[in-house]
Amino acid sequence: MTDQPPTTSRRAADLAPRRSDKNPWNWLLLLPIVLPLLVPVFNRAEPELFGWPFFYWVQLAFVVVGVVTTSLVHRAHQRGKRG
């Protein structure tokens, strides 16, 4: 413990260049977060698919929504990095 000023913070700014992880595509991530939480909407048996009640197959379908949206956002970030 010394009474030197904390120089490390300022030096860190030199370490990494200023960047941003903001991207309009990020909003897409809300879809797979909100959908699976709307339980009353999908807590039903009909319509069935291959003998599966709606409640079960739709939640597996949400997995696909999650994969697609996160992949799209990842791509957008990659493009942003190059551009």
């Binding site: 904390p6 030096r11 860190a12 990494a16 079960y56 949400f62 999650g66 992949s71």
Partner: protein, 546 residues
Amino acid sequence: MEGINTVELAVFIAFFVVVTALGFGAARWRRAENLMHLDEWGLGGRSFGTWITWFLIGGDIYTAYTFVAVPALVFGAGAAGFFAVPYTVVVYPLIFLVVIRLWSVSHVRGFVTPADFVRSRFDSPTMALLVAITGIVATMPYIALQLVGIEAVLKTMGVTGELPIIVAFVILAVYTYSSGLRAPALIAFVKDILIYLTIIVAVIVIPTKLGGWDVVFGAAEEKFSLSGTGGLLLPGTGQVQYATLALGSALALFLYPHSITGVLAAKSRGTLQKNMSLLPIYSLALGFIALLGFMAIAAGTEPIGADNNTIVPALFQQMFPSWFAGVAFAAVGIGALVPAAIMSIAAANLFTRNIYKEYLKKDATPTQEAKVAKLASLVVKLGAVAAIIFIDPQFSIDLQLIGGVIILQTLPSVGIGLYTRWFHRGALVAGWVVGMVAGFLMLYSVQRVGPDGTVVKEHFAGSAFSLSKLGFDTTTTVYAGFLAVAANLLVVVLVTFVLRAMKVDDGVDGTADTDYTAEREDPSVRDLPDPLGETPTTAGEGSGRG
């Protein structure tokens, strides 16, 4: 269950031997110059690419206990047990932008644990200690539960007694000691190939044998309407619990030290982002695994010795030829070893960095740190074995339930702290205390009532807290952890206002804004000559100490 099924056991042991060889060989895999550094032993050199990270985090999150307990829950309660699917859908988009910030700041500052981050960000050794203790306490019962997974499989094969579990864990402890994080990363490959093979075969073969999916769901519906508990759909009062449990568990998942270990071991931000979109493939598998519970109902499978956790192994034994049942059992058994290894490494890292180095030996060299961490990982695993042998396994299950609730209480400091430093360090401590107490009291009050109205289990009988206990006129239940972290956040915000108004010193941020978006190619603190002339590698924690 007369005696031991030798074919199953032979296949199981054969896989176990292969995995043990891999575990020891892992020390040589992607060899580092020096394993005696925590970055190497505890984080695999921070070098794992997309595939290894996928297997590692997958092995971390989807554990043997998951494979055994989720279908057991679905078998017993129906729809409510399916929460594991929305939970693992919500988690990846939720943390997509968060974990990459954690990765970046840890890369620049050389953090190994979440508590390292809190220490530097909020300039608060107290909060860091609380985060470390919370992490260790939440992880320990999780490790013990992995043993419950192995036990379920052994029981089904007719192997009884504690000796086999002790042997398995001693072997695990020894190769984790020598190979560090590289061992579970390598073994995770075997585990997942076996798991996916088992699931694909099970999902095709079992419903076909039973007469189709409608027969499976039909049998489940009949059972639930007869017994009067559970159901194919959620009761109206259980919907909020379902959603809050999914969301609360998702928020908790990446606060667990073992998940963070998996994240920090990745080599770049891109690796992690790619993984956030690839990891849900496990959730798809988990959905099918959950439905094994209904298949067991349709097949008339009986759990062994009234232990619902044996339902999936018992179903496999009933449906598959012995040799393939052996493969499936090996999948579950190895599925226990991978997370147990990562969890013990994560707990060891926390102990070493945030207790040993912080309080016991401030000038510890990297070699000493690695040595202590290796020993700590042994102690943690022995503790888990002891817990299973000497204490009722139910106690571990209760503890793990509490674990999920208490780890959530690190959300303001570890999670939200990645975005803002507005919270005052004193307020974070106050919020943590309130959240812990509230969560514990709520869980303590949860009872299980049997169909005849008598209380079957007095305390800790689940995480569904009835809002009526707070005076609300409703039968709705909510996930206790969710309410606890809400109370925590409220206190953090209020106390921050108060402390700021009183102008109480809130320390110095040891991180810079640009740290949070740093890429792999950017230099880290340890590339710089040490400014204060301390021991060469402590620049990371030296920061922020004004």
